[in-house]
Every structure is written in C-alpha cells, then in structure tokens.
C-alpha cells in the first residue's frame, strides 16, 4: 500500500473517534440527541474509505 493510502487507512479510526465525540457533545450540550445523529458515523466511514480508493496508484509494483 502506498504511504498515502496507508495514511488514510490509519486515519480512519481516529477520525471516526473524533466524529463520535462530536456527536456525543452535540447530544449532551445541544442540538440533537445521539440516537438521531448516529448516521453521521456511517457517512464519515464511507467518506474515509472512498478517499482511500481515490488516492492515485503510483506506477508499478503490486498494490494492496
């Protein structure tokens, strides 16, 4: 895997974690409760995976 792709791959967990924290903050302190906002996590996960796919492959060599 290219470094860029691996970078995005590793970033997945922490980004999801940050999103989860934000949704919980929104639940505790304001706008919408978490049982309504949880689909945001699906969207974030999808976006992260999509970004990994969109990173260009460099030439040559097998790709994971």
């Amino acid at each position: 895997m290219t470094p860029a792709r691996q970078y995005l791959r590793s970033l997945r967990g922490p980004v999801m974690l940050t999103a989860l924290g934000s949704l919980l903050v929104a639940d505790h302190f304001g706008p919408q409760p978490i049982f309504r906002t949880w689909p945001v996590l699906l969207v974030v996960l999808g976006v992260m995976i999509l970004l990994e796919h969109l990173v260009k492959k460099p030439e040559g060599g097998p790709q994971t």
Binding site: P3, Q6, Y7, R9, S10, L11, R12, G13, P14, V15, M16, L17, T18, A19, L20, G21, S22, L24, V25, D27, H28, P33
Partner: protein, 463 residues
C-alpha cells in the same frame, strides 16, 4: 519495530489521576466535571491520534494498520457506557443514581433522611410555591385548610458524616412568605460533592394554586382548583382533576399528562410524550416532541406549534394523535388548519372546513357527515384521498402535476389528463363548498365514504 501510540497509555494515566484526585480530595467536583465533559475526551483523543499519525507519516515512520486498535475501541466503548451512565445518573438525581451505582465505593453510598411531617395553616385558597431542584414532588388537594408536607431526602456521599452535613445544608422547610407558602428542599444551598435529592408529598387545600419549580424530577399535581404552573429542566409532569389554568414549561421530560382540567392548558418544551384529555379550556402546545401527542376531548380550540408545524383544532370531541410520521384525528369540529412538513394525515368524522398544507405525506379525509365542508389541501409530494358520503354536495377542483386522479363517485365529473398530471373540476349535487385538492406529485382519489365513520380509516393506497 513499529512504535505503538502513546495516546492510549496517556489517557489511562489521566483517568487514573482523575479518580485518584476524586478519592483524595472529595471536595473537588471532579466526578461532576468528568460526567459533563467526557465526550470532549474522545474528541481530543481522536485529534491527538490524527496528529500523531500525521507526524509519523511526515517523518517517514511506518504507519499502523489501524489508527485505533481493537483494544482501544473496546476501551472507547467502555468510556461511552460508563460516561453516559454517570452523566445521566448525575442529572437524574436520587432514584436513578441509586439504581445505577448501588454501593460502589468509588462513587459513594446513599443515605436516607426522613423529615418530620409539617403542618401549616393556609386558608382556603393559598398560593403555594414548591421548589425542589432534584427529586419528585406529589401535590394533592383535599378538604382542609392546612398544608401538610412530608419529605425524605436521599444523599449520595462517601460517608455518614458527609451525608449528614449535606442533609443539614438542605433543610426541608415550609415557610410563609407574605401571602405565599413556600415548600422547598433548599438544594441550592448544597456545597461539596454529595448529591442530594428529595421526594416530597404535600397535601394542600383544594382551592390552592401551585407554582412548582425544579431541575430534575417529576411533578404530580391532582385535585386543586387554582392555577397550576410547572417549570423544570427535566421532569415528567402528571396532572389531574384541576379546576384552574395550567402552564407547563419543561426543557426536557419523558411525559406531560393532564387529564381533567377545567381551565386552559399551555405546554412548552421538548419532551417525550404529551397526553391531554378532557380539557375544558383552550390548549396551546409549543415545542418539539420526540414521542407521541394525544389530545382527547378538548372543548376549546387546541393549537400545536413547533418550528415546522402549526396545527389548529377548534374542538376535539374524539381524539387527535400526532406521532412523528402521522397525524390521526377522529371526531373533530372544524375549521381545522394543519401546516406541517412531513406527515401522513388521516382525518375522519369531522365537520366544517379543513385546510391542509404539507410538503410530504399522504392525506386521507373522510368527513363522514353531511354537509361536507370546504377543503383546501395542498401537498407537494403525496397522495390525497377524500371519501365523501353519498349525497354530498360540493364543487371540486382537483389537480395533480404528476400522477392520476380517480373518481369513484357517480357524479359525472370528467377527468382530464395533461402532461403527466390530471385535473378534475366541476360541481355535484347542485354545488356546495369548494374542495380544492392539489398535489404536485401524487395521486388523487375521490371515493365513497360511509356516513357513520366510526371505523379507523384504512391505509392510504400508494402507487
């Protein structure tokens, strides 16, 4: 060798320090702060890890397969579960905290203190203020001119002396203040890390009016003829058999229920369920509700307002049920006005006019009684079905921009199609009130209804 993340261990140490601090110096509100702000920890952790991984990437170090390891996710789930239960446990005061924590040593034990019954002469129609920040209060009107109050306080603390100190800081008192009688638990005088919650039972003269205030805990008021006001951050409110006007303002709560009120009812807030039954005065509901709203037997106009809805019912003889996707009404006297964003509407057995504006949803109207009243229905996306009894007299102007029109009635009205829509116009039975039915996207159907519409309308047909 790949180096592991330092964030996990740092976090563990921080949590250990927090709990240690809480044990060694219980006067600091550490646990309260943790309960409020723990989600920020997750955000900070996520951002720190993103920064760490980015730094590794920039400096060419090998990147981990997973930014958050399986073990770390398990830890996160644990934080969420414990954090949420502490948060809601603290907010919810005595009862829930007891259930959640039992006698876990790190979070203290619960101690109960009973207060002796107090009796205060009050006259026939006193004004009574009940202040109870945390805990449930039950107020009942009776044939007496005394205010009789009984209470018991539950304190969560680390030890008996601390619990006693907290209990003494918050005496339960019934005092006369001018022409008011104030019943209060004095939780605002509390200092320290103990948690206090008081449950009270108050018997008042029947003619009393009640002004109840709290932060978390239920209020039950029954059998009182004066005005009843309830104001709380988070309360379940149950009212019954009241002779005066009612005003409820709760920022959050699981239910507001009022059955048998002779005066008006005004409800404000963001709540779970709302139930109003047998109300003789006008009703105004303002706020957002996660659960269901049920209005039954409301003799005067009822009005429901939220950020996206405005609904008015002059008189509800039967019931109106509003849930998140639907509104069902039966046996209503019009003119009914409904404006909302996204809901299916089923109205049956109503008289007089109906005006409905929705963006999304199906509308099913079965007046059930002759004469049919005026109808003004505009739906952006959804079907419209109107079932009129035989012999109904009306003019009609029905149009859909994208869809079809069905006419089951034998009244010779002609339907024209154009583009992808259709139109039906004309008058029947010699003319009558105008039925203006319009949908931008959907079908319209004119059906035969029965005169005695006491059945629940069937499911709306979709095409």
């Amino acid at each position: 060798m790949k180096r592991g993340s330092i964030i996990g261990p740092v976090l563990l140490i921080a949590i250990g320090l927090l709990f240690l601090a809480n044990n060694l110096r219980p006067d600091l509100p550490t646990l309260r702060v943790v309960a409020e702000y723990w989600p920020y920890v997750l955000i900070a952790w996520g951002l720190a890890r993103i920064a760490e991984i980015t730094w590794w990437w920039r400096t060419g170090r090998p990147l981990p397969d997973h930014g958050v390891s399986g073990g770390e996710w398990a830890f996160i789930v644990l934080i969420c579960v414990v954090g949420s239960s502490i948060f809601y446990g603290q907010r919810f005061g005595g009862r829930l905290a007891r259930v959640h924590f039992g006698s876990l040593e790190m979070l203290g034990e619960s101690f109960d203190f009973s207060h002796s019954e107090s009796r205060t002469p009050a006259g026939k129609s006193p004004k009574i203020v009940v202040e109870n920040l945390r805990g449930n209060a039950r107020i009942v009107g009776a044939d007496t001119d005394l205010v009789t109050a009984k209470a018991h306080t539950t304190v969560r603390a680390y030890n008996q002396p601390e619990a006693e100190r907290a209990n003494n800081q918050c005496p339960f008192e019934v005092v006369r203040n001018g022409d008011m009688i104030v019943v209060r638990s004095n939780h605002d005088r509390l200092s320290g890390s103990a948690r206090v919650s008081t449950d009270m039972e108050i018997t008042v003269p029947k003619g009393a009016s009640i002004d109840a205030r709290g932060r978390y805990g239920d209020f039950d008021v029954h059998g009182v003829d004066g005005t009843v006001t309830v104001d709380s951050d988070n309360a379940g409110v149950r009212l019954g058999n009241l002779g005066g006007n009612v005003k409820v303002d709760t920022r959050k709560g699981d239910i507001v229920r009022a059955i048998g009120v002779k005066g008006s009812v005004e409800v404000r807030g963001a709540n779970g369920d709302l139930e109003l039954e047998s109300i003789e005065g006008p009703v105004v509901v303002n706020g957002s509700y996660y659960g269901d709203i049920v209005l039954r037997k409301i003799a005067k106009p009822a009005r429901f307002e939220s950020s996206v809805s405005d609904m008015r019912f002059p008189k509800i003889n039967g019931h109106v049920e509003i849930s998140r996707g639907e509104l069902r009404g039966q046996d209503i006297a019009g003119p009914v006005y409904l404006r909302t964003r996204s809901r299916d509407i089923h109205l049956s057995d109503f008289t007089d006019a109906v005006e409905i504006q929705i963006e999304r949803g199906d509308v099913d109207l079965r007046p059930g009684k002759l004469p049919v009243g005026k109808m003004d229905v505009h739906v952006r996306g959804g079907n419209v079905v109107v079932a009129v009894p035989d012999g109904a007299k009306f003019e009609i102007n029905a149009s859909t921009d994208k869809g079809g029109i069905e006419n089951d009635l034998n009244n010779g009205l002609r339907r024209e199609t154009h583009n992808r829509g259709a139109r039906l116009a004309g008058s029947t039975g010699g003319g009558g009130p105008m039925l203006n039915l319009r949908t931008d996207r959907g079908n319209i159907a004119l059906r035969r209804g029965s005169v005695l519409a006491s059945q629940t309308p069937g499911p709306v047909e979709r095409q």
